[in-house]
């Protein structure tokens, strides 16, 4: 078969698949601009003609969106920052050193990820409440970091192992301290890996919903997923106002989409080395 033709056909196929894959996202954004009265018809509206922003106005009307946004941003930043630092240090330890207990640590890291979280809620509540950290950024962040750190260690381990020690040593011969060599030579090479694990931590912290439900009981401390679910539930007591619900969903998704588009390039190259060494 003609190779160029094959490539053309496959490219067309790729674009069709891409459209399918993006459809739910398109649907969410498109519906969020359509007046509810039109959405209530039995015939779906595929394009937002006569668009309106009133759904957005309705979704943020009571102001609770902004407090939830603030909470989500605070928690997510905390988790991403600490996760990257902690995981990076641990990854250096397990990929640069061979020591007693290393293997047990690696396996423990793997097994921690397998714990079903649904049985842990009561204990987590008791623990966080006993130190007066319910409804606080810190309380929920500690649980999140503990849940996310194992996988980020896992991701970073491959990157650190991939940076040749010889390079560092060469730099040290040139008079840099070990730390200096590390910062100048190794760290930049790790950047994509740090981005990739940061993205992972970001997604987990931004999206998490069940732990937040338990550890952030008061309305004032809601995160965005809780806010969205509350919004959907409140809407369901009437006939679901899909326009507003879609607007609310879009509001929760937009920060993540922006973040993804910013780090996109680095993310793919990050996964490249991470995946291969993983």
């Amino acid at each position: 078969m003609n190779r160029r033709l094959a490539k053309g056909l496959l490219s067309a196929l790729a674009i069709v698949i891409a459209l399918f894959w993006a459809f739910p996202v398109y649907w969410m954004v498109s519906s969020s601009f359509i007046p509810t009265a039109i959405l209530q018809s039995f015939i779906p509206t595929f394009f937002p003609v006569n668009g309106t922003v009133s759904n957005y106005a309705g979704a943020i009307a009571d102001g609770s969106f902004f407090s939830a946004l603030g909470m989500s941003v605070a928690i997510t930043l905390t988790v991403v920052l600490f996760c990257i630092i902690f995981a990076f240090l641990a990854a250096v330890a397990i990929s640069r050193f061979r020591f007693r207990g290393r293997r047990s640590f690696v396996i423990a890291v793997l097994i921690v990820q397998m714990l079903p979280a649904e049985g842990l809620f009561i204990a987590q509540y008791k623990m966080v409440s006993s130190v007066h950290l319910l409804d606080s950024v810190i309380g929920v962040s500690v649980i999140y970091i503990a849940a996310v750190v194992p996988f980020t260690i896992w991701m970073l381990r491959g990157f650190v192992a991939g940076v040749p020690v010889d390079l560092e040593e060469a730099a040290m011969v040139d008079g840099l301290s070990r730390f200096g060599a590390f910062m100048r030579i190794t760290f930049p090479l790790l950047a994509p890996g740090l981005v990739a694990s940061g993205v992972y931590a970001f997604l987990q912290a931004w999206n998490e919903f069940t732990v937040a439900l338990v550890l952030l009981p008061s309305e004032a401390a809601q995160t965005l997923p809780l806010w969205l679910r509350g919004f959907v539930q409140a809407s369901a007591t009437r006939e679901t106002d899909w326009g507003q619900v879609m607007a609310a969903s879009t509001l929760v998704a937009v920060p993540v989409i922006i973040f993804f588009l910013i780090v996109q390039g680095r993310l793919t190259s990050g996964l490249v080395s991470g995946a291969v060494k993983g």
Partner: protein
């Protein structure tokens, strides 16, 4: 230091719980300046009532009342985690009437027997008082009552030449006749046990009975089975609702559909306040992308579900209880709030907003329109679920949704009843 405080708090909590709830608030404790939190379930309590409580509480104590609304679907898990926790417990909480026995028996609430007479005593709705009492002591009191009755499309019933039914059999037949390919004669979700048990109660059946100290599930009782059989027939012959639907928003089916201009149901059963959502749909003057419903007597009607021999069938009593958390550090302020809730003014406000006041002296505040009449008539004969210690667990486990779904899905009722009796028996005694 932090840790010490934590331990201290835990110890205090334990003392409060263990000392049981027979100790009234210490006499030297004053409500002055106590800031307290009230949990309300769902959005049933309108804003005017919430504002009233906040203002009155501030006037009475100088403290702040914070009202937090909990969603019914998360309420059980939130109560379970927060109520034992001195630091985070709501001071006063609304609680589903059917959950009251579960939480009162484990000591979650303060004994408020000493103020029982002051807040209304014998005038308070007896069946709700009963589910909130243990060994003659009062822990949870009624907050408001609601009830379920039938909403109908007069036009659809009249077009088929049918009168408002006066017995349950007539109702079942009429509902079956009105079913078409696109319209339920009577719209009821397959898993909607809260409405479905009306047919069980109407036929003299019960969900469980108490023998000595032990509760036993009685789904296999012949009268219960009879009610379930009627419900199964009704479901298959008159309802187009999904078998997985519980009591969500049946009223939307009674209004004309925007696309077809016709209703999807000729009849529904719903809590009384559903009438605010039923009627002719017109664009909302405040926001023309939304619609509002205006009740139209020519097209819509309501009546009380008739009993087997006429009269009102016993339906499931809606509404909730209210109680002071035993772990609360603000017992005095909490009791102050209870007094405000049971005051004549607040009771009348409940009634004016279509919620049945806990104190039956003020039932007249509901007014005398057709909805108030239907509410009182159906409530008078309404029943509660079993006051068993494990009842909240039975509800929480989803067994009832599961059982009713299977019955309405066309399952063999005696066999299913036997199976679920066994499952419920495991939980019902706590």
């Amino acid at each position: 230091m932090k840790r010490k405080i934590g331990l201290l708090a835990a110890a205090t909590a334990a003392v409060v719980v263990l000392a049981g709830c027979s100790t009234p608030a210490p006499a030297d404790e004053s409500a002055d300046g106590q800031n307290i939190t009230l949990w309300l379930m769902g959005g049933d309590t309108p804003d005017t009532l919430r504002d009233f409580l906040k203002t009155e509480y501030a006037d009475a104590t100088g403290g702040t009342l914070t009202i937090e609304q909990q969603d019914w679907s998360d309420a059980l898990s939130k109560l379970t985690t927060a109520l034992p926790d001195t630091e985070n417990t709501p001071d006063v909480t609304e609680i589903g009437n059917t959950w009251s026995p579960t939480f009162t028996t484990v000591g979650a609430f303060s004994d408020i027997s000493d103020m029982y007479d002051e807040v209304g005593g014998d005038k308070l709705l007896p069946s709700f008082v009963e589910v909130g009492a243990v060994d003659g002591a009062n822990y949870a009191l009624p907050y408001y009552f609601g009830s379920r009755y039938i909403f109908m499309r007069k036009d659809v019933w009249a077009a088929a030449g049918l009168e408002v039914p006066t017995t349950l059999a007539q109702f079942n037949e009429g509902a079956a006749k009105l079913k078409t390919d696109t319209q339920s004669g009577f719209y009821i979700g397959g898993e909607d046990w809260r409405n479905g048990i009306s047919w069980v109660f109407a036929n003299g059946g019960e969900l469980a009975k108490k023998d000595g100290d032990t509760w036993t599930s009685t789904l296999s009782d012949p009268r219960t089975v009879e009610g379930l059989t009627q419900l199964q027939t009704l479901y298959t012959e008159s309802s187009l609702a999904p078998v997985t639907e519980a009591d969500s928003t049946p009223w939307v089916n009674l209004n004309n559909n925007a696309a077809t201009g016709a209703p999807e149901a000729a009849t529904i059963i719903a809590p009384g306040w559903a009438h605010w959502s039923i009627g002719d749909l017109t664009p909302d003057p405040k926001d023309d992308t939304k619609t509002v419903a205006t009740w139209n007597d020519a097209i819509f009607g309501n009546f009380v579900l008739p009993g087997v021999d006429g009269g009102a069938a016993p339906v499931f009593a809606g509404g909730s209880n209210i109680a002071v958390s035993a772990a609360s550090k603000n017992q005095a302020g909490s009791r102050e709030l209870m007094k405000i809730i049971f005051s004549e003014e607040y009771q009348n406000l409940l009634g004016a907003n279509g919620l049945g006041p806990a104190n039956l002296d003020y039932v007249s505040s509901l007014g005398d329109d057709q909805f108030a009449t239907a509410l009182s008539e159906s409530a008078a004969n309404s029943k509660l679920t079993p006051a068993a210690p494990g009842w909240a667990a039975v509800e929480g486990s989803g067994l009832l949704e599961e059982f009713f779904g299977k019955v309405n899905g066309g399952g063999d009722i005696p066999a299913l009843a036997k199976e679920y009796d066994a499952k419920i028996d495991e939980l019902i005694n706590g």
